[in-house]
């Protein structure tokens, strides 16, 4: 699997198929049983702790829950990576944080605590924090799950705009077909830990295989059967009687 620079690459597949695990492998939070992972030429699963942390400074990650630090305000959450990894003055950090918050439309929410934010706002703050250090790539873990249509639209637009404006490589894991296909340049469809198909959204829509078509169109029956494997119904009922 190759993730091109400067593009929005989506990894789609049903729940429990290993999408989040893949992001954790790329971020070095998990070690693969086999295979190799390279990010910007660096062999992630062979890096020592120090080198891995250096690499992570150039990666951003948006977690499904936002993963904001609950004891810090919105402002302090976005300032956190800057305070940890740079020696910038507080006045410079303030300017940078306000610019990042402005980019996600939440400059006015800087004094709120994470508990006061809606789910969509929390993800936007997490996005501002993820881009605080101007990373070369951002990984999005199910960015649209549980969002109302407006928040979803905002996130879709933000991900695309940030990718294009900052020339970031975006890797997005999702099973929200419509939103993902709308902004992705390239899509990998995976199932049970394996790549089933890949291509541009248009290619997958028009030439995708049976499994991909079922997934994209949300068909209840197909290669992924509606029924969980079981004995014949008549036999089962007979056994009960």
């Amino acid at each position: 699997m190759d993730i091109p620079r400067g593009k929005v690459t989506a990894i789609m597949g049903p729940s429990g198929t290993g999408k989040t695990t893949l992001l954790k492998l790329i971020g070095g939070q998990l070690q693969p049983d086999s295979g190799d992972i390279y990010v910007d030429g660096q062999h992630v699963n062979a890096l020592n702790n120090k080198a891995l942390y250096q690499l992570r400074m150039r990666m951003g990650m948006l977690f499904q829950s936002g993963a904001l630090l609950t004891d810090l305000t919105v402002f302090d959450n976005v300032a956190f990576p800057l305070r940890e990894h740079t020696k910038l003055s507080e006045s410079m950090i303030r300017k940078l944080v306000l610019l990042k918050l402005e980019a996600v439309g939440l400059r006015g929410a800087r004094d709120l605590m994470p508990s006061e934010l809606s789910g969509g706002m929390a993800r936007r703050v997490a996005l501002a924090r993820a881009i605080a250090l101007d990373p070369m790539m951002i990984m999005y873990d199910e960015p649209f799950t549980g969002q109302d249509p407006i928040s979803m639209g905002v996130l879709v637009q933000l991900i695309r705009k940030l990718n294009d404006a900052a020339r970031i490589s975006s890797l997005m894991v999702s099973h929200d077909v419509a939103e993902t296909m709308q902004i992705a340049d390239w899509v990998y469809v995976i199932s049970e830990g394996k790549v089933v198909e890949s291509g541009s959204p248009e290619q997958l829509r028009s030439q995708g295989g049976e499994w991909t078509q079922q997934f994209i169109k949300g068909l209840p029956d197909g290669p992924v059967p509606f029924h969980f494997p079981a004995d014949d119904l008549a036999n089962d009922l007979g056994a009960c009687l």
Partner: protein
Amino acid sequence: MITRVLAQLGSVGVSALSSIGRAHLLILNMLAGLNDIIRRPRLLIDQLYSVGVLTILIIAVAGLFVGMVLGLQGYYILSRFGGETALGLMVAASLVRELGPVLTALLFAGRAGSALTAEIGLMKATEQLSGLEMMAVDPKHRVLSPRFFAGLISVPLLAAMFSCLGIFGGWLVGGGMLGVDQAAFWNGMQGGIDFSDDLVNGFIKSVVFGFVCTWIAIYQGYDCIPTSEGVSRATTRTVVHSSLAVLGLDFVLTALMFG
């Protein structure tokens, strides 16, 4: 049948050993985090407040009442032999040697230890610890280490406070209510309590208990299953394991110190 029982025993043994291994790796990582704390003492100060200062009330109230009960019980027993003048010594020795460190550690495990486990467990469940890792910040150094050192520092101070208030409570009852001679109460204490045998040994106990209780609390939070049930079970384990560890270690330490 026998094979299955053996397999289950083996599985429990492997799981217990691997848990002990993880706990030891964690403590090494937390001790290595001391550098970060020296660079940024604010991290420790914040935790000293939430782990130590917020536990003062329960320690103060418990210490006072334990001392008052000791004064009452001690008076009734000692007065049978005409030895009520030794009440001060009895109250102080009981508190400094045993009750101060042990009860403080038990109360600390119930108040601060459970809170530490729940907080860290919830941070894990809400991906805050993973988020820190992905921001290239080691949560063991940034989050766990300050909490560990705060617990280590707080417990001996809280134990000292418990003993002081307990002695005060004993004096209130003995000297104030029951009419024990005040000079005898304080002189007996002054003459009978030895600095190295009593105070230093009591201090060593409270340091050991602080180390163990905080270690258990942090490990249970960090190692818990990140669900509401997992955090709840980890919190219960913290209180149970800490209490048993304190009581068991108290016997061992007492045997070594006074045996």
